[in-house]
C-alpha cells in the first residue's frame, strides 16, 4: 500500500499536485498578461515618458525632460496664469458626473419597467435598449443633427418659447451634448442595473414598508443596496468613458463646449503637440482615478458582502 503523497490533491475529480496546477494556471494566464503588458502597460509608460519631454517646432519629439507640459496644463505660461485648461478639465468632470447621474435617474424606472414585463415581451424591450449598440456612434450622433435641426419641431418649440433665437438649431450647445451623451450611455447603465433589478428580493421592500418606511426610505434602504452591484458597474461604465468622450462634444458641442477629450484629440491631431497631449491624458487619468476612489469611499458602506 502506497502512502498518498501529501502534495497530491484532487482537483475537480482529477489527481494532481499543487505545482502542476500552478504551472497550468500560469500557462492559461500568460497570453492575457502579455496582451495587457504590451498593449496597456507599455503604451501607458510611453505616455508618461512623452508627457515629460518637449515638442520641437515642427511637432517632433525632443528628448529634453521637462515638467513644462504639466505646469501648462495647470494654466501657467509665459503670458501669466489662465484657468482655461483647468476649466475644460473641470467641465469634463461635471459633464461626466451629470451624464452619469441623469443616466442612472432614467435607467432605474426603465429597468423596473422591463423587469416587470411578462417574460414574452421582456426580451423585446431589452432588445430596444440594445439596438443602439448595433449602430455606429457617429451615425447616432449625426441623427441628433436631424432631430435638433431648425426645421424640426423641437427647435421650433424652443424658438417659440424664446430659449433660442427663432430659426436656429439646438446645436452646438451644452444641452445637445447632454442629449447625445445620455443617449449613448443609457444602455450601459440600464443593462447591468436591469440584471440587478430582475433579481431583486422584494421581501426586503415589503419589510421596509412593514417598518413604516417612506417611499424614499424604501428606495434608499431596500432597493439601492440590493441593486448596488449593477449600479456600480453602470456608473463606472458610464463615468469613465464619459470623462474622455470626444466624438459627441465635438459634433454637438463644437468650440462652445469643449471637453478634455477634444483637447487631447486636438493636441495629438491639429496642434501636433504630443507631449502636451500626453500630459493632459495623464491629468484625465488622475482625475478619473480620484473620482472612482471618492465614489468607492462614499459607497463602501452600502456595498453588499
Amino acid at each position: 500500500m502506497t502512502e498518498p503523497s501529501p502534495k497530491n490533491i484532487i482537483w475537480y475529480g482529477e489527481l494532481t499536485t499543487q505545482g502542476s496546477l500552478m504551472k497550468r494556471g500560469l500557462g492559461f494566464l500568460s497570453p492575457g498578461m502579455v496582451w495587457l503588458l504590451v498593449l496597456l502597460v507599455l503604451p501607458g509608460l510611453v505616455l508618461v515618458a512623452v508627457s515629460l519631454i518637449t515638442r520641437g517646432s515642427y511637432g517632433q519629439l525632443l528628448w529634453n525632460f521637462t515638467s513644462e507640459n504639466y505646469t501648462r496644463l495647470l494654466g501657467f505660461s509665459v503670458f501669466g496664469w489662465t484657468a482655461d485648461y483647468l476649466r475644460i478639465l473641470w467641465r469634463s468632470v461635471v459633464v461626466a458626473f451629470f451624464t452619469t447621474l441623469l443616466s442612472v435617474v432614467l435607467a432605474y424606472p426603465l429597468s423596473f419597467f422591463i423587469a416587470a414585463r411578462p417574460e414574452r415581451t421582456r426580451y423585446f424591450w431589452l432588445t430596444l435598449v440594445i439596438v443602439p449598440f448595433w449602430t455606429n456612434m457617429v451615425i447616432r450622433t449625426y441623427a441628433w443633427f436631424l432631430i435638433l435641426a431648425p426645421e424640426m419641431p423641437l427647435a421650433k418649440a424652443a424658438g417659440w418659447l424664446g430659449l433660442v433665437s427663432a430659426g436656429s438649431p439646438l446645436y452646438p450647445s451644452a444641452f445637445a451634448v447632454y442629449l447625445g451623451m445620455i443617449s449613448i450611455f443609457l444602455p450601459f447603465v440600464t443593462l447591468p442595473l436591469y440584471a440587478s433589478v430582475e433579481r431583486l428580493d422584494w421581501s426586503l421592500v415589503e419589510a421596509a414598508q412593514d417598518l413604516y418606511a417612506s417611499r424614499i426610505r424604501v428606495f434608499t434602504q431596500a432597493i439601492i443596496p440590493q441593486t448596488m452591484p449593477g449600479l456600480s458597474v453602470g456608473i463606472i461604465l458610464t463615468f469613465v468613458p464619459a470623462m474622455g468622450m470626444f466624438v459627441v462634444p465635438d459634433m454637438l458641442g463644437g468650440a462652445k463646449y469643449m471637453l478634455v477629450g477634444n483637447l487631447i484629440q486636438q493636441q495629438f491631431g491639429a496642434s501636433r503637440d504630443w507631449p502636451f497631449g500626453a500630459a493632459i491624458s495623464m491629468g484625465l487619468m488622475v482625475l478619473t482615478m480620484i473620482s472612482l476612489q471618492l465614489y468607492r469611499r462614499k459607497f463602501r458602506e452600502v456595498e453588499l458582502v
Binding site: 428580493d201 414598508q209 412593514d210 417598518l211 413604516y212 434602504q221
Partner: protein, 346 residues
C-alpha cells in the same frame, strides 16, 4: 392584565383572487387580543395571503379587516400598527443588527437615545445584545430569526405576524424555538398570528388554531379541540396521524371493515367515515368488553419514543410504548373505545 388592553382582530368575509384563482374565499375569523393564533394548512391553502392582508401587503377584493374596531382594510402596511416576521427574515444586509432592529423607529423619526434604549431592551430580551454591531450575514439562522423578532417587536405592534418563521431552522432548533416563542408571547401578552404548515408547531404554540385548505377555514378552535375532534378527513390526517374507517349504520352501532363497532352517539349519516388516533387504541391479551378487534401484526416501525404497529385487518395503525415489542404475525386484541371514535363530516 396586559391582555385586556390588546385589540381584537376581526376578519369579515375576506376574499382575495389572483387572476382566476381564489386564494382566500370568504374567510371570517376573530382573533382575540393577546392570544396566540395559528393559521395552519398545506402550501397553497391561502394562509400566507390571509396573513399578508392583515399586514397590509395585499388588499382584499371583498371583506373587511378590523383592528380594535377600526376598519384597516385599505390602510397600507406603512400605516398599520402591525409588524411581520418574514419567512426568510428579510433583514437588511447592509445594516448592522442594531440598525436593522432600529429600522421602524428610525422610519418614525424617534429620538436617538430613545431608539438606543428600546433597541437594546429588545436585543437583551432575546439574548442577542452582543450581536448589535454585526451584519446579518455573520449570524446563524436562529440568531437571524431573533433579530427579525426584535425588529418587529421593538415597534410595539398591536399584532405580530409570523410567516413560517421556523421553516429555515433545523428540526431540533425548531422544537426549541417553538417553546421559546410561546413563552415570549405569554410574557408579552401580545397578539401573535403564526402561519405554518407544521402541525406540531401549531399544536405547541397556539391558543387557537384555524385549519385552512384551498382558501377556506375548515375548522378552528383550541389545539385540543381540533386534534381531538377533527371535523373531516382532511383535518384528521393533517393534524397528527389518524386511522380512517368507512362505516355503514347498523343495529346498535356501525359496521366497518374491521368489524362491528359501537359509538357513544348516533351516527349523523347512514354511511361515512370514523377516525381514531393511533395512540388512543389499547392493545390487550383478553378480549375487551366492547369494540374489540382481533388483529394480527403486519409491520412494526421503531420511532424512538414509541413503536408504530400496523395491524390487519385495516390496516389499523397503533402507537405503542417502545418497551413492548411486537413481531409480524403476533396476535392481539385492539380496543377501539366508543368515546375515542370520532365521526367525521365526510
Amino acid at each position: 392584565m396586559a391582555e385586556q388592553q390588546e385589540k381584537n382582530l376581526i376578519l369579515r368575509s375576506i376574499t382575495k383572487r389572483f387572476g382566476d384563482v381564489e386564494a382566500v374565499q370568504d374567510v371570517t375569523l376573530e382573533v382575540r387580543g393577546g392570544e396566540f393564533f395559528t393559521l395552519l394548512g398545506p402550501s397553497g391553502c391561502g394562509k400566507t395571503t390571509l396573513l399578508r392582508m392583515i399586514a397590509g401587503l395585499e388588499i382584499p377584493d371583498n371583506g373587511q379587516v378590523l383592528l380594535g374596531g377600526d376598519d384597516i382594510t385599505n390602510l397600507p402596511a406603512t400605516k398599520r400598527q402591525v409588524n411581520t416576521v418574514f419567512q426568510s427574515y428579510a433583514l437588511f444586509p447592509h445594516l448592522t443588527i442594531f440598525e436593522n432592529v432600529a429600522f421602524g423607529l428610525r422610519s418614525r423619526k424617534v429620538a436617538n437615545d430613545e431608539v438606543g434604549k428600546r433597541v437594546y431592551r429588545r436585543l437583551e430580551m432575546l439574548g442577542i445584545q452582543e450581536m448589535a454591531q454585526r451584519k446579518p450575514h455573520q449570524l446563524s439562522g436562529g440568531q437571524k430569526q431573533r433579530v427579525a423578532l426584535a425588529r418587529a417587536l421593538v415597534n410595539e405592534p398591536d399584532v405580530l405576524l409570523l410567516d413560517e418563521p421556523m421553516s429555515a431552522l433545523d428540526a431540533k432548533l425548531r422544537g426549541q424555538v417553538q417553546v421559546e416563542l410561546k413563552r415570549l408571547q405569554r410574557k408579552l401578552g401580545k397578539t401573535f398570528i403564526l402561519v405554518t404548515h407544521d402541525q406540531a408547531e401549531a399544536l405547541v404554540c397556539s391558543d387557537r388554531v384555524a385549519v385552512m385548505r384551498r382558501g377556506k377555514v375548515i375548522q378552528y378552535g383550541t389545539p385540543e379541540e381540533v386534534y381531538d375532534i377533527p371535523v373531516n378527513r382532511f383535518v384528521a390526517e393533517f393534524l397528527g396521524a389518524a386511522n380512517l374507517l368507512t362505516y355503514q349504520v347498523a343495529e346498535g352501532g356501525v359496521q366497518t371493515p374491521v368489524g362491528f363497532l359501537k359509538l357513544d352517539r348516533d351516527a349523523p349519516k347512514p354511511e361515512g367515515t370514523l377516525a381514531i388516533r393511533p395512540e388512543w387504541i389499547r392493545i390487550s391479551e383478553e378480549e375487551p368488553p366492547v369494540n374489540g378487534v382481533r388483529a394480527t401484526v403486519r409491520e412494526t416501525i421503531y420511532r424512538g419514543t414509541n413503536f408504530d404497529v400496523w395491524f390487519d385487518p385495516g390496516p389499523i395503525r397503533v402507537r405503542t410504548s417502545s418497551y413492548k415489542h411486537f413481531h409480524p404475525g403476533d396476535q392481539a386484541w385492539l380496543k377501539l373505545a366508543p368515546e375515542e371514535l370520532v365521526v367525521l363530516d365526510d
